[in-house]
Symmetry: C2
Subunit: 204 residues, 2 copies
């Protein structure tokens, strides 16, 4: 997700990226509440006003992080489905990738769905819906276009709920002590889920 900008070394080199990374680290340590532009600047080794050369204000910084998150999630979903043809396996792979992304990028995941930030630009909204469109397409390939949206919401609820519960520490520790554990749990839940989709779609 961290995209290293090809900005050549100017004064700092690449302050924008440095600040983004500092912000993510800071949120991871202290929570969204504990994020401040001044502390980001401090950690980046620049004056407290420097970030304003790269972000209009604090909210813009948060939106930039959230956008990175949405793009990263969509990419992870696409990558996971790459080369898989079977519709059910594609959906499964997407779901596992969703949970895995959340576990590996907890700050991004929370920020993507944090309603605290002021409303994003149309561009941000577009990147936000890309991951959902992927999901609807994958669902449509199984249950057909009419049922696709409902199935997508159901599947999304399952993976999103598991992600949030893990990130909030609500799942017994021994089940999710590593990203691999979390992925295995996701697979188990998704495997259970296959039932109704199969049943509804193909009255073979």
């Amino acid at each position: 997700v961290a995209k290293s900008r090809s900005k050549k070394a100017y004064h700092h080199g690449d302050l924008r990226t440095t600040i983004l990374e500092a912000a993510v680290a800071l949120i991871a340590e202290r929570g969204l509440h504990g994020l401040s532009l001044r502390e980001c600047a401090r950690r980046a080794g620049v004056s407290h006003a420097a970030p304003y050369r790269h972000f209009e204000d604090k909210n813009a910084l948060l939106l930039a992080i959230a956008r990175d998150g949405f793009n990263g999630l969509a990419e992870a979903g696409e990558r996971a489905m790459l080369g898989i043809d079977d519709p059910r396996e594609r959906l499964d792979a997407y779901g596992v990738a969703y949970v895995r992304f959340a576990v590996e990028h907890p700050v991004l995941h929370k920020l993507m769905f944090a309603s605290e930030l002021k409303k994003p630009s149309p561009e941000d909204q577009a990147s936000g819906s890309r991951a959902f469109e992927l999901l609807v397409e994958a669902a449509a390939a199984i249950v057909g276009p009419e049922q696709a949206e409902l199935a997508a919401v159901a599947f999304w609820s399952l993976t999103h709920g598991l992600s949030m519960l893990i990130l909030d520490g609500r799942i017994p520790e021994d089940k999710v002590s590593s990203a691999e554990d979390a992925e295995a749990l996701a697979r188990a839940l998704i495997a259970q889920w296959r039932g109704p989709l199969t049943f509804d779609s193909a009255p073979t």
Copy 2:
């Protein structure tokens, strides 16, 4: 959830409850970030130091709200299952009540799962796990004790994910424009879910 304390009219009457309600309203308006003890006091019509007679500090106020939330959720779940004998119907009723509670008490729901607050007391943790124990019991009645925890996590993920997505405005508006709509959506998702539980549990 708002429990009106039987404190008789003392100075204010029941400042503790008034402040709790003001805090919930404030969070609803401005988000968790926008909550301040001083503004709560202002709205309650008392001096800014008055709340300290009822809450040790700001975090204690948040924990009190979260505790009300957990208790309310457990009560809603119990109430929903009351008088229902069929195990599957009990679980369904619990799930629908879960989503309904989230939709009707968005601030409580978000606060319950907000990792921003400092760690709660043992007493708070107990009230937090009550709702989950209810769920595990309901699941055990269907799939048996060994599979109960996994089924509970799966079911919880589904209802929790749907709740969060609705509260964050991620579900198309026309599907959840009222609490009744949201409940209907929850029923649809849960009905789909029945498939695998039935399949796994009873190899009739």
